[in-house]
């Protein structure tokens, strides 16, 4: 049984789940055998779930990526690794709580984790600035990438951001410069970099920590040049047209796979990562380890050349 907030299109599933759970309680409490009925309702539930989830619109997938119970970066780090030591600060200005990172072991593999962190309740959301990093967040990330490079530790980036923060301080401290530098410098970091978009991948805020040798997306994550709301506000002049913008932007994991932008889609548990975070983490961990295993066999020159070519060839045009 699911606890906590849910999305409107999840309602029929949640209601049926509640019915099944009530029937089980009733069966136990009254000592009445209802196994047949329960099994048939369970079958109905599976069918309903399949029906809803195979016909999700792009906008519904965006909503799943923002599900209030969806696992966040530190959740994944906790579920996938051990002995995580968080590192703080960019050494210039501050420690950005919207960007986290540090050393950890995934099984026996040491890695440097970096990623945006969202908050779950109001207080934590504010503390994490809704996962929207300032320049010092991007500079902290680059410091950690350099540290990893220096000591030959591969890098794993978990991306989950509605965008780099658009504010006065962010402009004063050079948000554009910080992101540009990260994009350029990440393309030459001499250790393997694995990128996983676990939730929202909005624009330069995502790309600013998003250059790597393997780029993967969780099934119900999105990655786009602009958020659906931002796009709707500019092109439709109405942020409420976000669902139309989401369709037009082609921003789901399937879209990006079809466009040749990402290397892999990581399957989520039935009904999404929030319904079984442990299983989601197992899937993500498996893909990270496989990718690192493969990448670590490549000589540095080859790794960097392939990384450059990966981005060099992106673009659709007539000549």
């Amino acid at each position: 049984m699911v606890e906590g907030p849910f999305l409107e299109f999840e309602r029929p599933i949640i209601e049926l789940e509640k019915k099944i759970s009530d029937m089980k309680d009733f069966s136990v409490g009254e000592n009445i055998e209802l196994n047949g009925e329960i099994a048939s309702m369970q079958k109905k539930l599976n069918k309903l779930r399949e029906e809803i989830y195979t016909h999700l619109t792009r906008w519904q997938k965006v909503q799943l990526s923002r599900h209030p119970r969806r696992p966040y970066t530190l959740d994944y780090i906790k579920m996938m690794s051990h002995d995580f030591i968080e590192l703080h600060g960019d050494r210039y200005f501050a420690d950005d709580k919207a960007m986290v990172g540090g050393f950890a072991f995934i099984d026996k593999q040491p890695v440097m984790f970096v990623g945006q962190q969202k908050g779950r309740d109001t207080k934590e959301k504010l503390y994490r600035n809704f996962g929207m990093a300032h320049p010092e967040g991007y500079r902290k990330a680059l410091r950690l990438f350099r540290l990893a490079e220096k000591f030959q530790v591969p890098i794993v980036v978990l991306i989950d951001t509605p965008g780099a923060f658009p504010g006065i301080g962010a402009e004063e401290r050079g948000q554009a410069e910080a992101i540009a530098r990260n994009i350029r410098d990440m393309s030459r970091i001499k250790v393997p970099i694995v990128i996983v978009i676990i939730g929202e991948g909005a624009s330069g805020g995502a790309l600013g920590v998003g250059i790597g040798d393997r780029v993967m997306m969780l099934e119900y994550s999105w990655y786009s040049v602009i958020s659906p709301e931002g796009c709707a506000a500019i092109l439709w002049r109405d942020a409420a047209k976000a669902s139309e913008a989401a369709e037009a932007l082609k921003l789901t994991s399937e879209d990006l796979m079809a466009l040749g932008i990402i290397d892999k889609i990581i399957k989520e548990p039935p009904s999404g990562a929030h319904n079984n975070p442990d299983m989601a983490a197992v899937n993500v961990k498996k893909e990270i380890l496989e990718a690192l295993d493969e990448l670590s066999k490549k000589p540095v020159e080859q790794l960097l050349e392939e990384r450059l070519n990966k981005y060099r060839k992106i673009g659709v045009y007539n000549e």
Binding site: I168, R184, G204, V225, C231, G315, Y317
Partner: protein, 280 residues
Amino acid sequence: MAWFRKDKTGLTPQEKKNIPEGLWTKCKSCGEVVYSKKMEELLWVCPNCDFHFRISSQKYISLLLDDGYLDEYDVNLSSQDPLKFKDSKKYSDRIKQAQQKTGKIEGVTSGMGKIGGIEVSFAIMNFEFIGGSMGSVVGEKIARAIERAINNEIPLIIISSSGGARMQEGILSLMQMAKTSALLAILAEKKIPYISILTNPTTAGVMASYASLGDVILAEPKALLGFAGPRVIQQTIGQDLPEGFQSTEFFLAKGFVDCIVNRRDLRDTVIKFLHYMWRQ
């Protein structure tokens, strides 16, 4: 003394009224009214407040390059509509309209030329083409300009003016930031100079990639520069923005621009920098 003040046109308001539209130009920044012919002589820089009007790519080419000559490359690169994108307008129609409006196939003009006798790879963005937005073609043309600098071992000069990545090509546009920036890393390793020139406006995806990565960053006065657009910031913080926020002068004060350069000094300034940074 009359009740009205004569401005630098030397015309009274009544006289001004009688000048046909197009003969004079009103400064968007200070409101000064100047004869268009005079503005042309001044390279479209307001004599009163130094505001730099937007001028065409061709004007920059004649202003900057020896003999005003650019050997243009990649002229026929043209956009597709990979997402079949449609908002109030079809993307394919937007491209056609931009082509008709500008007489250009896409938003970047690029090629090889000389500045003060020094051979350079040169690219300039055209804001009139869908807001100077960067899609696959803009990204590819910039990428090839960088590669020409790398392969011929010649300095790179890019004049930017852009509202950012082109939404109508979705993620493909975002990835042009990666493509261009990754090539600039190679250029930097080869110690080949890159001079980035920012003009009004340079923001978002272009500012957050190659425009910010020059060895030297020059900017025209009073240009709008930044990551996020002023309206987005205003909505986010829910208050008015400080005066002069996100201007060239603000960028210089905060340490993100090397020099503010008046358009009439641009060529000489670039040549000076090349003399310091480049020995053929």
